[in-house]
């Protein structure tokens, strides 16, 4: 090789590298920014060293050139400039190997290789072997190398490469066009590359594919390809359709539903392998939050194919993990249909209703009952999902409510209503999850369904005691009500109130918002547990007794924590029951000790905040809905004992404490389902029968029963009650009852009344007044005491008691305002921190760009220097041997010209990039301005010494 060619290739080669370097550098920033935003502080050293490696290569910096860089460069040169086809092919093979082997190889490839490889893919379509090799090299360049142990936060060249490649929408359309090639490997590798791109930069790929005409069509065609390709395409499509509504619609337009279901059938339905799972994941992506696609499925294919996946065929008794996952996935599909689309879609409700109607028409309920109720050998996760699905399917849908209440299960003569079977699950299951799922059915069934509630309540007829001791198995012949009553009272003898608590939960659904049922159930009387213990007692009293019993069982109970929720569930029942129901309040107060017990419970510090709070609510209901005029049971008595035993201040405090407790705070209006993906599916399927505390998305201290019990409805009931109770109690104070009617006419002597009688009457009157004054004094004293206890510090609770109703209202408003204001403050604070972090991110970004511009301009200087040297050398050579070798002279001139031309082109490139950087900076500045930052001040720091963003940030605080 003569000097001139060497020169030429040196100058030419390094300039190309320079522009690649720029791209890599930009990518590095993106990565750095990403990791910064994600809160994972990436080690800057790694970035810098990776960067330096490439810099070293370009500028001959002696100590940081990696051998891979020059090796890869040589191979690329052979591929692009080689003449012999064989040599080029073997270079490609070698390149693939080096890229597959090491991160350094991947890095070097990323810096230089893409144009060459894309060139091969574009220009050499006919050379299948080259195309294959090129694609395989790309696959290797994009596949993260995990086996090489490196520092934790080291950058993954594979990810950088993915990022780099996905930036060019042209490369994506080139890749898509390769899917129409005949060669199997070409299509296979291409799909792998697309999947890699999609995993790493989903949004960019989604956007790019949307703009490529027929892009999605090509991918869809792959579903009809050979099995290996088809499976790869399935995976790709699941990534592609995640949260991309327009793509979801196009995929469906291209006939995705037909294809998905035909693959599922081909693969054996729920018995099939992971391909079925992938199909269902794709299906769920297409239906999730997409009412339009749901309508299309319903109106064209119908739900039959979907429903048939639920049917257990063949080996119905065996459940592999894969089958479990498949069933869970298809149950999720039903869930999505029942939800009807995205929250924001105005057509959602109509679609939801139609879906629910059609699903029931198609007998989905039967299959769900088979799976959730009758297949006790099925994994508990599947049973629970089926039960939840039943609940959702009937909720607030009159026809579907009828459907479930008229369903019977079993075979003659052992048939029974489905609702009975579900109740049995509630009473007997050992799985808390299953109880919650089955309980959800009754919750849904009773919601806005007073006929249904009445129907269930009508069967609540106490059985003779003997029945209660009948063996459990005989309950097949029992009515719903008998089963429920038995459940309510079953555990007393063996000291286990678990069944009672579950039955209580069901009963509270039956009573909710239904006056008729409440009053009916108040009248239910139970025989004494042991005849020797005396008379029958109302069911309501029994429940109060169990409430007390639950707390006393607390410590001897093996399962710690049970007592807590047993009490809460019973309290919820009572609170629901007494709401709006004077008869129930009357019944409750019928037994004097009840009030005493409740007063104790409210101030009992050994029970949870929620227990105290609910007890306080119950107490409040005894005032609010008290229509009694018997002294000793009337509202005044309750308020009096309340203020004497607890004190109004600390009474109201119980409400606040409960509201603040995180159980209440964490109540969400609707449960959100996590999409079932390959990675989450396995853990879902593994929910075992003994799973007291592993609902993954629940906090440890939060018992799953509690969060299902304290649903949004109940919490809003509590909030409403609280407001009413506050008002009512104050009212009781502000309008003390008068035992004496102070009507002047009555003080007059009546005609025909003797003096003696008149005096007697007046005396009695005065006595009454005296006693009332006495009472008022007493009450006044309590209030004063209470006031004294709060220390008159102007506390809000103190206001409640001392001021009149109007002032109280005012105080309440003020309190609300204060709350709102502090909420707003919190929001603003959060926003502020967000803005701050954003601005510091932009600062960092700006600083990095600045420093990069500097190194680029340095690089350019070096380049120019090199050029200068070369020129000098050329001159020297010229003067030395011009006469000897005119050819060399000419070649040199040419080389110089070319070098100059190329450097000009590269300079232009650089300028364009600089321009882009500049406009980025401008955009960022604008954004910073928007965010209220002083851009000039920021840039001041950046301009002269690259600033120390961290310091700036601290100053801002």
């Amino acid at each position: 090789m003569d000097a001139a060619t060497e020169l030429k290739s040196f100058v030419g080669g390094s300039l190309t590298l320079a522009s690649k370097l720029l791209l890599v550098a930009i990518t590095l920033y993106d990565l750095a920014v990403k990791s910064f935003v994600g809160g994972v502080e990436m080690k800057r050293m790694d970035l810098v060293s990776g960067y330096k490696g490439v810099v070293g290569l370009v500028f001959g910096n002696e100590n940081s050139t990696s051998s891979e860089d020059s090796y890869v460069e040589r191979l690329l040169d052979r591929i692009s400039n080689g003449v012999l086809a064989d040599d080029r092919r073997s270079a490609m093979t070698e390149l693939q190997a080096v890229v597959a082997e090491s991160k350094a190889g991947q890095l070097a490839f990323g810096a230089m290789g893409f144009p060459v490889i894309m060139g091969v893919l574009k220009e050499e379509r006919d050379d299948v072997e080259m195309v294959r090799g090129a694609l395989e090299t790309l696959v290797s360049a994009l596949t993260p190398l995990d086996h090489v142990k490196g520092p934790k936060n080291e950058i993954q060249p594979a990810l950088m490469n993915t990022d780099l490649l996905s930036r060019e929408s042209e490369s994506i359309s080139l890749l898509l066009s390769l899917l129409s090639e005949d060669d199997f490997y070409v299509r296979y590798y291409t799909l792998q590359i697309l999947t890699a791109l999609l995993t790493n930069s989903p949004n960019r790929l989604q956007e790019a594919i949307l703009t490529i005409p027929r892009g999605i069509t090509r991918l869809m065609d792959m579903l009809m390809d050979r099995e290996v390709i088809r499976n790869e395409a399935l995976l790709l499509l699941t990534y592609l359709t995640r949260e991309a509504e327009e793509i979801q619609k196009i995929v469906v337009f291209e006939g995705a539903f037909e294809k998905i279901f035909s693959i599922i059938i081909e693969e054996g339905g729920s018995e099939g392998g992971v391909v079925v799972q992938d199909c269902l994941e794709l299906l769920n992506n297409l239906l999730r939050s997409n009412a339009s696609n749901q309508i299309l499925l319903r109106e064209t294919m119908g739900f039959d194919s979907l429903i048939s996946i639920l049917k257990l065929r063949g080996s119905a008794y065996s459940f592999t993990q894969q089958k479990t996952i498949n069933l869970l996935s298809v149950l999720e599909t039903f869930n999505l249909l029942i939800m009807g689309g995205s929250e924001a879609d105005p057509g959602r409700d109509a679609n939801k209703l139609t879906n629910m109607t059609v699903l029931i028409q198609k007998k989905v309920l039967d299959h769900l009952l088979t799976l959730g109720v009758e297949s006790q050998w099925a994994p508990v996760a599947v049973r629970c999902a089926a039960l939840r699905c039943i609940g959702d399917l009937i909720a607030s849908h009159p026809k579907n409510l009828d459907a479930i209440s008229s369903k019977v299960l079993g075979e003659e003569p052992q048939v029974e209503p489905a609702l009975n079977s579900i109740l049995r699950i509630i009473l007997r299951t050992s799985s808390v999850q299953e109880f919650i799922a089955a309980d959800h059915i009754f919750k849904s069934f009773c919601e806005k369904n007073s006929d249904g509630q009445t129907m269930l309540a009508s069967t609540l007829i106490p059985q003779p005691l003997s029945m209660n001791h009948a063996p459990l198995e005989e309950d097949v012949n029992m009515s719903f009500g008998s089963m429920l009553l038995r459940g309510l009272t079953l555990g007393e003898s063996d000291g286990d109130l678990e069944a009672c608590c579950r039955a209580a939960s069901v009963l509270s659904h039956i009573l909710k918002d239904n006056m008729h049922c409440k009053e009916r159930v108040v009248r239910i009387e139970l025989e004494a547990p042991m005849p020797s213990l005396g008379v029958a007692e109302p069911l309501l009293h029994r429940m109060v007794r169990y409430l007390a019993l639950a707390s006393s069982m607390k410590n001897k109970d093996g399962k710690s924590g049970t007592a807590g929720y047993v009490q809460l569930v019973i309290l919820k029942l009572l609170v629901t029951w007494l709401a709006d129901c004077p008869t129930a309040v009357h019944c409750f107060l019928d037994s004097r000790p009840h009030l005493t017990y409740l007063l104790e419970l409210v101030s009992n510090t050994s029970v949870t905040v929620c227990t105290r709070g609910l007890a306080a609510v119950l107490l409040g209901e005894c005032v609010l809905y008290n229509k009694s005029s018997d002294s000793g049971k009337d509202a005044f008595t309750v308020v009096d004992s309340l203020s004497q035993k607890i004190g109004l201040t600390s009474y109201f405090l119980k409400f606040d404490e409960m509201q603040k407790s995180f159980l209440f705070a964490s109540v969400k209006p609707t449960q959100s389902h996590k999409p079932l993906t390959r990675s989450t599916a396995a853990s879902m399927a593994e929910i075992e029968d003994v799973d007291e505390n592993d609902l993954s998305d629940q906090k440890n201290e939060d018992h799953p029963i509690l969060s299902s019990m304290l649903d949004a409805h109940f919490v809003s009931l509590i909030k409403r009650l609280e407001a009413d109770i506050r008002e009512n109690i104050v009212e009781v104070y502000s309008r003390p009852k008068s035992e004496v009617a102070v009507v002047p006419a009555e003080l007059e002597q009546k005609s025909g009344e003797g003096d003696k009688e008149y005096i007697k009457r007046l005396k009695a009157f005065v006595e009454k007044q005296c006693s009332e004054i006495q009472k008022l004094i007493g009450r006044n004293a309590t209030l004063a005491e209470d006031l004294a206890k709060t220390g008159g510090s102007g506390s809000i609770q103190a206001e409640h008691r001392t001021s009149g109703a109007s002032e109280r209202v005012q105080a309440e408003t003020l309190r609300r305002d204060l709350q709102e204001a502090s909420q707003r403050l919190e929001m603003l604070k959060a926003e502020n921190t967000k803005i701050e972090s954003e601005s510091s991110m932009y600062q960092n970004l700006a600083a990095k760009m600045e420093s990069d511009l500097k190194s680029l301009s340095d690089a350019y200087n070096t380049l120019e220097q090199a050029n200068f040297h070369l020129e000098k050398e050329v001159k020297a050579l010229k003067s030395g041997g011009s006469s000897v070798c005119p050819d060399v002279e000419a070649i040199k001139a040419e080389a110089r010209e070319e070098a100059q031309k190329e450097s000009e082109v590269e300079l232009n490139d650089l300028l364009v990039c600089l321009g882009q950087e500049q406009s980025k900076v401008e955009r960022l500045s604008a954004r910073l301005l928007e965010l209220g930052e002083d851009v000039d001040k920021l840039l001041e720091g950046v301009g002269d010494d690259m600033g120390l963003p961290e310091d700036d940030e601290e100053e801002e605080d």
Partner: protein
């Protein structure tokens, strides 16, 4: 839900010409007086009867706004029929027809049946494009033509059905390879006309207008 054939339609044309209204009138027999800009595409379906055969129409109503063009183009190739709509009261929507056609010719399959609809013919007093001009344009470009009103439902059924009848005729004449679904035609399982339940059945009274 059985059908002899399934046809995929797209509805295209400038924003505001009444594409969504035509679809709504056809599927739900309702009119929507306010303009709900379509975002991307929306879907509708209905069963009709042609030559005593139940035919399912799957209809994609696209957004007319320029910014959605790249998305809506994805729907051209797989469609058997297109309703190209303009607004007789807005001349510019008529002037744009050529560019819509060009788009269709470029992205759709060559056998796509195109029905030109001059919509809002109830607004005769504000007419800006004469019937003859519409006819003329259709003739020049080999389209079927109708004036219609999504508001009064005039010619709405007819437009959808006439398009289907034309496609059906093409199938009979062997123009399509119906096993290739990329033409937007699918052969169903149930070719037998029968009392199909639900609202599909209720709305399949029309038809039989093809030879």
């Amino acid at each position: 839900m059985s059908y002899a054939y399934l046809f995929k339609y797209i509805i295209i044309g400038d924003t505001g010409v009444g594409k969504s209204c035509l679809l709504l009138q056809f599927t739900d027999k309702r009119f929507q007086p306010v303009h709900d800009l379509t975002i991307g595409v929306e879907f509708g379906a209905r069963m009709i009867t042609i030559d005593n055969k139940p035919i399912k129409l799957q209809i994609w109503d696209t957004a007319g706004q320029e910014s959605f063009r790249s998305i809506t183009r994805s729907y051209y190739r797989g469609a058997a029929g297109a309703l190209l709509v303009y607004d007789i009261t807005r001349r510019e929507t008529f002037n744009h027809l050529a560019s819509w056609l060009e788009d269709a010719r470029q992205h759709a399959n060559a056998n796509m049946t195109i029905m030109l609809i001059g919509n809002k013919c109830d607004l005769a007093h504000r007419r800006a494009v004469s019937t003859e001009e519409g006819e003329q344009f259709a003739k020049e470009h080999g389209l079927i033509f109708m004036e219609a009103s999504a508001k009064t439902a005039q010619n709405v059924e007819e437009a959808f059905i006439k398009t289907a009848a034309t496609i059906y005729k093409k199938i009979q004449d062997g123009v399509f390879d119906v096993s290739n679904e990329s033409y937007g035609i699918k052969v169903g399982y149930g070719g037998i006309p029968g009392p199909s339940g639900g609202r599909d059945g209720a709305s399949s009274q029309a038809g039989g207008c093809c030879s």
